[in-house]
């Protein structure tokens, strides 16, 4: 059975190493405000209603444009059950598959295929009930019912795709009525609204024709979304053309006749395509191209995303100096996060020594200064641990995430100042990095933390994946703290996750360095693009609500 909470390598590889723009600071602040205002982004939301509010009132209803052309990297698959996670789902999944729940850019959840949802009272987040929208049809013409949802979820569980792990604890999926579904899990699943949103795949419901012959889902689609993947006009890994779904339940929310996704991996080529009017939005833009995008009359957007970090895997290896807490604390004190953020984050990143990104569930402002840059303190801690003369530290890095090995080189210099002799092994991509990390030959790896806008359990799983926890660290206390938090909701859950954040910070399993943002650029012809204020969400060109979908600025 696959592990839970996998993520898309390409998406992440693209995003890390990309400093946030000034807009990221603004959106970061907005995210903080949203969190303070009680908006849940996965950690504690437990119920939803049909009271979605329009974000923009001037949006047109119905089609006003011909083609919306987007740039992105190639998908893992166009079959939602074999697709990755995060933005790749939005670009290649949400265009043709409606999800059960829709997450707004501020983290709130609003109805999509499900009009309401809630955890069963007293179920400790283990039983989840959904009521479905009526009179919704798949692109094959068949009616969406509770059985469709059950069949789709069961297919996801057995398809063995990257997201099958999300359903590892699903004990049963039952149609309790024609339009009501009950999901029962064997353990608390506090993040179901997020997992069933457009940012993951399992909530994207596949129709009966697609389920009967899943191979067809790699060339066409069978969802309830506004568009259908056109097999005739698409070329795998080059261009994906989505044409109108004549059965779509809310035509008012559809503003373009078709959506085209062009696979362009080179930033210069992508910028030229946008500047020459052939692409309307670049959904993957490296930081180095931001200035070019702005001078090319494109508007850039940014949002918080992840934390550049050194993960101390040797904490559970008795032979490693990292098994000593004082050594791990010393390393945390030996790095100048502000300088790193300014130098490597492009000056727009925020230095942090915590597991959670500021503004997200679990972030504890009180723990923000647990570690401060102090070489003398670091040396003293190393001496107390019996390493006054320093030691050798083998670190694994990947150039796909650490452009030019800059983070690795900076850490090597900073740790040398306290006597730690770092040897960096660079791998070109995660495909080489992961097997090497699993080999247990490295005490530490340079790899990002977080994505905890998706929920704290997601972030924990992200940080404790087998290849970032090669020596198999386990903690009864951590498990207990997580179990307690997982069974709570709202502010009680947030407070409980802060304790988890404190535990991880105090035990120094990681060396968080600075936050990073993700960006995109949009041509002047597109209106209604709204930057998300929480991490792990992607700017979404289509939506089940007319006021949220992009539309031509001339309309």
């Amino acid at each position: 059975m696959p592990a839970r909470y996998p993520f898309t390598l390409r998406a992440h590889a693209r995003r890390l190493g990309r400093p946030a723009s000034l807009l990221a600071i603004a959106t970061l602040a907005a995210g903080t405000l949203a969190a303070c205002g009680g908006v849940s982004n996965g950690g504690g939301s437990s119920t939803g209603t049909a009271s979605a509010t329009a974000a923009a009132s001037a949006a047109p209803t119905g089609i006003t444009g011909d083609t919306l052309t987007l740039q992105f990297n190639e998908p893992v698959s166009t079959n939602p059950a074999l697709e990755g996670t995060s933005e790749s789902d939005v670009v290649f999944g949400a265009i043709d598959y409606d999800s059960l729940i829709y997450q707004l850019g501020n983290g709130q959840y609003v109805p999509d295929l499900a009009t309401s949802w809630s955890y069963a009272p007293g179920s400790k987040n283990e039983v989840f009930n959904l009521t479905l929208r009526q009179n919704v049809h798949f692109s094959d013409g068949s009616l969406l019912t509770a059985s469709s949802v059950v069949n789709s979820l069961e297919y996801f569980a057995k398809a063995d795709g990257p997201q099958a792990g999300y359903l590892a604890t699903l004990a049963s999926a039952k149609a309790t009525g024609t339009y009501t579904v009950q999901l029962t899990f064997s353990a608390p699943e506090p993040d179901l609204p997020f997992l069933l949103s457009q940012y993951q795949d399992i909530g994207q419901i596949i129709g009966p024709t697609g389920l009967a012959n899943p191979k067809t889902l790699t060339t066409t689609s069978d969802g309830t979304g506004p568009y259908v993947l056109s097999a005739a006009q698409s070329v795998a890994n080059s261009q994906y053309v989505f044409t109108l779904n004549s059965h779509y339940w809310n035509p008012a929310a559809v503003h373009y006749k078709q959506v085209v996704v062009k696979v362009i991996t080179d930033a210069t080529t992508a910028l030229s395509a946008a500047e020459s009017g052939q692409v309307d939005a670049l959904l993957s833009l490296p930081s180095s191209a931001q200035q070019s995008a702005k001078s090319g009359n494109l508007t850039t957007f940014a949002q918080p995303f992840s934390i550049a970090s050194l993960i101390l895997m040797g904490r559970s290896d008795p032979k490693s100096p990292l098994s000593n807490l004082k050594v791990r604390e010393a390393i945390n004190d030996a790095v100048d996060r502000s300088a790193l953020a300014q130098g490597l984050g492009g000056g727009n990143s925020v230095p942090t020594d915590e597991f959670a990104i500021p503004g997200t569930t679990g972030y504890d402002p009180a723990a923000a200064s647990t570690y401060s840059y102090n070489v003398a303190t670091a040396k003293s801690l190393l001496a107390q641990a019996g390493y006054a003369g320093g030691f050798k530290l083998a670190v694994l890095d990947t150039l796909a995430l650490d452009a030019n090995g800059d983070i690795g080189a900076a850490l090597k210099t900073e740790l040398a100042a306290v006597g730690i002799d770092v040897t960096i092994t660079e791998t070109p991509s995660p495909a080489q990095f992961i097997p090497a990390a699993l080999s247990k030959q490295y005490d530490a790896v340079i790899w990002p933390l977080s994505q905890n806008g998706a929920g704290f359990p997601y972030a924990i799983q992200f940080a404790m994946a087998p290849f970032t926890n090669a020596f198999g660290t386990t903690s009864t206390e951590l498990n207990s703290l997580m179990a307690t938090a997982g069974a709570l909701s709202g502010s009680a859950a947030s407070a409980a996750y802060e304790k988890v954040d404190d535990y991880l910070t105090d035990n120094a399993w990681f060396v968080p360095l600075f936050s990073l943002g993700a960006t995109l650029a949009v041509a002047p012809g597109v209106a209604n693009v709204q930057a998300p204020s929480v991490d792990n969400t992607t700017i979404d060109p289509v939506a089940p609500i007319a006021s949220l979908s992009w539309y031509p600025s001339s309309s």
Partner: protein, 314 residues
């Protein structure tokens, strides 16, 4: 002649085997695991290995190769590890773009190159020096860089032609032509000046022969002398060079298709190689090899057409 062709075709079979074996070995020794890309990062080594096993990637390389050969002999090239589409259908989607690109670039290379070379041979002087200089420059300039320059000035600044994408001929002939102009110019730049220089040199050599002087004294028109007699005699080295440039252009499509985001074989190979998608790599290499073999045969046939003595000896 037919026997000659059959012999050439039979000789190409071992060549195909050698190329496919070398490709298999090269892909095997390059680090990378398709399972990591398919499953994502949050899995154990055992889970990656299980998927590798399911995909047949844990078998000895000889066994994997035999499975592939068995598939080829049964008319299938396997299935892509990532798109789950058959390799033949993926290649069928990509082949027309590359074929049109290479045909277009070859036509431009031959027509423009021969015209420039002829003019240079006839008028000599400054034009000859210009051809020389241009050929050195185009040999030195990487075609992807030239492509980027063309995109910046022709597509982005002037907005005269599209910077990316391919329009199928059947969908919109005008759009098809527009989508191919910049890639064809980029791909053919080296060939045009190369053929021009080759034509100029070959023509100069032929024009200095005695039979040309005799024909000139017999009162043949300048046009007839140049095109019917001199050019035909100078054609074999020109055709050889054009054939070699066409084969080189096939390799050039890999970069040009990346620059102009064309859904062709070149971009497919790049993607498949980075993904370790062995069935697609093998299929694409097989197609490329077949195209090269076909081009070589065409060159040989053109020799026979241009020089009757070749027909006799063949």
């Amino acid at each position: 002649m037919l026997r000659y062709l059959l012999r050439r075709l039979l000789l190409s079979i071992p060549l195909l085997f050698v190329v496919s074996i070398l490709t298999f070995i090269m892909v095997a020794i390059v680090p990378g695991d398709p399972a990591v890309r398919i499953l994502g990062a949050g899995h154990t080594a055992a889970q990656y290995q299980a998927l590798d096993q399911k995909l047949g990637l844990t078998a000895p390389i000889g066994v994997q190769y035999w499975h592939w050969v068995d598939g080829v002999l049964h008319g299938t090239l396997g299935t892509s590890l990532f798109t789950n589409q058959t390799v033949t259908s993926e290649l069928a989607q990509r082949l027309p773009t590359t074929i049109w690109l290479v045909i277009g670039a070859t036509l431009v290379t031959v027509v423009a190159g021969v015209a420039l070379g002829l003019a240079s041979a006839v008028w000599r002087g400054p034009l000859g020096r210009v051809v020389d200089a241009a050929s050195w420059i185009t040999f030195a300039v990487p075609n992807f860089w030239l492509g980027l320059i063309l995109v910046e000035f022709i597509a982005v600044k002037a907005r005269l032609l599209p910077s990316i994408g391919y329009v199928p001929l059947g969908q919109d002939p005008g759009g098809w032509l527009r989508s191919l102009i910049l890639p064809v110019v980029t791909l053919s730049a080296v060939g045009v000046t190369g053929i021009a220089k080759q034509t100029r040199d070959a023509m100069a050599e032929v024009l200095s022969r005695e039979f040309i002087a005799a024909l000139r004294m017999a009162g043949l028109s300048r046009r007839s002398l140049l095109l019917r007699h001199a050019l035909r005699n100078a054609a074999i080295p020109i055709v050889t060079a054009a054939g070699l440039f066409s084969i080189a252009m096939l390799g050039g499509t890999i970069l040009v298709e990346q620059v102009f985001v064309l859904p062709g074989m070149g971009s497919l190979v790049v993607q498949a190689a980075s993904d370790h998608d062995l069935p697609v790599i093998e299929g694409a290499v097989l197609y490329f090899t077949l195209i090269v073999i076909a081009l070589n045969l065409l060159i040989d046939l053109s020799y026979a057409w241009l020089n009757p003595r070749v027909r006799v000896t063949a």
